[in-house]
């Protein structure tokens, strides 16, 4: 008697959990399946799979013809790779220094860095724009300068979080290995690259992935700083799509699929690091 009650309860638990899982997966499946259908088919029956006559690649063809998807991808990847690379290097340096060195004002510096995590982007973006503008980096024909103008504030915005996460990890490393390297004649910079970085690889990976994704997905900074149409990065392009092709539903589904699928692939491969990275800063702070 007791046993049946228990399993009934478990079944109910699985039903509830699966229902939420359905809400997170199905919308994406739905959008991908509809990206292979013509508009009238989407409006007639969006739930069926795009099989037989219904299947079409025309949405993707239009997407590549009308939207400059490849340059948008390139722009996004340039920005986000720069952000991730600079963040792990500078945050790694700073975290290493804060953990291993003792100096005056260290406590104050640490509080200042943690405080940096609290600044919402709204509260810094206008002065940042005006500053970059006065340096000639906004609204410039030079693509690389424009992309850099987005990367710079994003780097600054991710440093605090990265320093906090990396400090936590570097603190747990045994100092004996650094001592051994020191005895063999390594200086502090060599110790960082030859001992700390290889040992702390998982947490550097976590921080890099987090910074990359955050930058890739961030629309607000791009809205402010990438003003010229041909310089748009991927989220900015998507945002313009509604006003450009607002009723071309098939095209919209295809564009969403094109942006989302690479992220899904990366997520499936690296999910352990991603989940850890995106929650690590939160739990520590």
């Amino acid at each position: 008697m007791k046993k049946t009650k228990f399993s009934g309860c478990t079944v109910l638990i699985y039903i509830i959990l699966s229902f939420w899982a359905l809400t997170t997966i199905y919308p994406i499946v739905w959008i991908i399946q509809n990206s292979f259908k013509a508009k009238d088919q989407i409006l007639a029956d969006s739930f069926s799979l795009p099989l037989g006559d219904v299947f079409t690649l025309s949405n993707y063809k239009t997407a590549f013809e009308r939207l400059d998807i490849f340059s948008a991808y390139r722009n996004s990847i340039v920005i986000s790779t720069t952000v991730a690379a600079v963040v792990i290097l500078l945050a790694g340096f700073a975290a290493f220094a804060l953990v291993r060195y003792y100096f005056k004002g260290k406590g104050a510096l640490q509080s200042l860095i943690i405080a940096g995590m609290m600044f919402p982007v709204f509260s810094t973006i206008i002065p940042v724009f005006r500053m970059l503008n006065s340096w000639g980096m906004v609204n410039t024909e030079n693509l690389w300068l424009s992309l850099l103008s987005v990367a710079l504030p994003q780097i600054a915005g991710n440093l605090s979080f990265a320093i906090v996460v990396l400090s936590g990890y570097i603190k747990s490393l045994p100092i004996e290995l650094e001592e051994a390297a020191y005895l063999e004649g390594c200086n502090a910079v060599q110790i960082f690259f030859k001992v700390i970085m290889p040992l702390a690889k998982p947490s550097f990976a976590t921080v890099a992935i987090f910074s990359f994704l955050w930058s890739y997905n961030d629309l607000f900074t791009q809205m402010f700083l990438l003003r010229l149409p041909e310089q748009r990065a991927i989220t900015r392009l998507l945002n313009e799509l509604t006003s450009m092709e607002g009723t071309n539903y098939g095209l919209m589904a295809a564009a969403v699929a094109l942006v989302v699928i690479p992220v899904i692939v990366v997520y499936i491969i690296l999910q352990k690091h991603i989940i850890k990275g995106m929650t690590a800063g939160a739990v520590k702070g």
Binding site: T10, I13, I16, L17, W20, A21, T24, P27, I28, A44, S46, A91, F93, A94, A97, Y101, F103, I113, G116, M118, F119, P120, F122, S123, T124, I126, P127, V128, R130, N133, A156, G157, L159, S160, E179, Y182, N187, A188, V189, Y216, N217, L219, F220, M223, I234, T235, L238, T242, M252, A253, V256, V260, V263, I264, Y267, Q271, I274, M278, A282, V283
Partner: protein, 295 residues
């Protein structure tokens, strides 16, 4: 001995200065400058400021008279409530349920976290199609269940709800993962001894799980409330410019609008300052509420 390596303080400059320069130039300095800007006259993003406002706190008075700003504030407060109940609340339920099953916990973790890695812009377009008036997913579904008329999900009576639903939905998995990590730290022995004392499942949740999770829940609520202040992408894609009829303004979207569409840069700086102040106040309040309940 360990201290010997790091006695030489010279490398410290190389290690600390680059990060500090970045943060000073692109974070601390703009933050202070933004507060100053909110008291000055700036007529467009590129224009130089034309001295102080008269009176200097003009923008802060204007804020209280601005009808749209009131809507934005109201909506943001609603959004905070939605994130506390809808994100953290749902996440607690799901986390406690997952804690009670043996197989599949990892699968659910992966699946629940999934929406967070996708850009909110893409999700905004997706939800636009889902809630499409002229037969998007929901209207088709309702039709299959025999509803004959189409519902306009973006009209003024549904807009607020439809704007907040995706924001809530996207981040449930985030709090779920944090809470599950917290649950795993609770010792199994506590549950076993409670079982021996004859505690029911619900009693175990009520008297062991929730009290021991209080700190984690507190962290989640602080993150949810401050997160609500930062929402921009999804609402801007789904309901640009406060559509319909200025009903869906949030502090973030209204600040962007004031910068680019009305070019009232000093006013939007003031709104940004308000966002920071609200963030500090609400996280203090949340901490206080949870601390006082500590006995």
């Amino acid at each position: 001995m360990g201290a010997n390596i790091y006695k030489n303080k010279k490398p410290l400059v190389l290690f600390l200065v680059p990060a500090l320069i970045f943060m000073t130039v692109f974070l601390y300095y703009p933050f202070v400058q933004n507060i100053l800007n909110s008291f000055q006259q700036i007529s467009s993003l590129g224009a130089a400021n034309k001295g102080w406002n008269d009176p200097w706190y003009e923008n802060y008075i204007k804020m209280f008279q601005d009808k749209h700003m009131r809507t934005a504030l109201f909506n943001t407060v609603v959004m905070m409530a939605v994130t506390i109940i809808g994100q953290v609340g749902v996440a607690i339920v799901l986390a406690v349920l997952v804690d009670n099953i043996k197989k599949g916990a990892k699968f659910f973790r992966t699946v629940y976290f999934f929406p967070i890695v996708i850009s909110a812009t893409a999700l905004g377009l997706m939800f636009n199609l889902i809630f499409l008036y002229d037969k998007g997913m929901i209207n088709q579904l309702l039709e299959m269940f025999g509803k004959s008329s189409l519902t306009d999900w973006k009209d003024s009576s549904h807009a607020l709800f439809i704007m907040m639903l995706p924001v809530m939905w996207q981040y449930v998995g985030f709090y779920f993962v944090i809470l599950v990590t917290g649950l795993n730290n609770i010792s199994e022995e506590l549950y076993e001894s409670a079982s021996i004392d004859g505690a029911t499942k619900w009693q175990k949740v009520r008297f062991i799980t929730l009290p021991l999770l209080r700190n984690v829940i507190c962290t989640c609520v602080v993150l949810a409330v401050t997160g609500a202040l930062k929402v921009f992408d999804l609402p801007w894609v789904m309901f640009p410019k406060g559509m319909p009829l200025g009903k869906t303004w949030l502090t973030g979207t209204y600040m962007y609008y004031q910068t680019f569409n009305t070019k009232n840069v000093d006013y939007s700086s003031a709104i940004a300052v308000l966002i920071v102040v609200l963030g500090i106040i609400t996280s203090k309040v949340v901490n206080k509420v949870f601390k006082e309940a500590d006995y």
